[in-house]
Amino acid sequence: MRKGVAITIFFVFLALMCYLALQLHPFGEPPNKDMDQYFIDHAQEEVSANNVVTSIVFDYRGFDTLGEATVLFTAVAGTVAVLRSFRFKDKLAVKKLILMDKDMSVIVRTISNILAPIILTFGLYIILHGHLTPGGGFQGGAVIATGIALLIVANAPSKVKRMISKDLLNAAESLGALGFLGMAFLGLFSATFFFNAIANSGFLFGDKTPLGINYGNLNTGGTLPYMNIFVGIKVLAGLGAIVLVLYLLAKGGEEE
């Protein structure tokens, strides 16, 4: 009975989705590009960024990105809160995780020690060049977080706890989020919330970008590079905290 209903719904849904796909505009020929043409035409002079996507992410729709950073912050806070240590109060609880305080093999540790600095450098590059090339704070932060994750999973929980503390990561995350919010507030004092106050002002990262296709000037972008850096800190700390909490939990060495 239940299975039959589910299969029926699945097929009706599939049919509706296929019908929808055929109703959409032909692939590769958007019928209307009013808003996007504005971004392509004006991103360089208004935001002084070569990367149009980053200029949308951090300037035109910067408020969405604040929301996005908030979502990540919420998820980290939520995950850490949900996985905080507790004493079982209900009788049915049976599963206790076994403590496994062991390093991974020498090969893994050596390779991860060699790779981690390279990954960190690459992540920094992605963060700093977010307004010129593909990438930005989120992507770079995620890359750095993989480096941290590599270091975490290669070592024993007791060693990890000495290396990185959850409090440090939490504080770094709050700092990144507050810095991002602060950059948004900076605009409030000159025009509106999220106004790009530094672009074309001559301050650090405040140069004008040459219009049209160019080789890229790192010293452009206004608030974009600052926001990228803060978001990068936030993302690497947040993802690092999630990996750390999950790892310590899986190995049975959760923090009190």
Partner: protein, 110 residues
Amino acid sequence: MLNTGFGYWEPIIFALTFLLLGCIAYFIYIRGNPKHKKVGEQLKPFLSGNPEPAKELVHIRGRHIYWGFKEAFAPVYRKLDEMHDGDVRNYMLWFFGILVILMLIFLGGM
């Protein structure tokens, strides 16, 4: 005064009327027999001569209330219990079912 289009509702008048009626009720209450004794046999309930059980034993718990109503609606409740089986997949199934029905209604009916 709240005008509902076909009548009105004035809570202040209602509250005043309520107070007035309360005063009248209280007036009748204080006119009662002052000689009524607050002690003795007459306070106990008469249970065909049987002794009165302890209060804790006759406490009616929440579950017992509306037993008749629940019995009368038993077939409905059986269906509803089946539906609320706590399986997260069924939650999704109801959601997608309604979604599909809505799509069909909207595409066909508008």
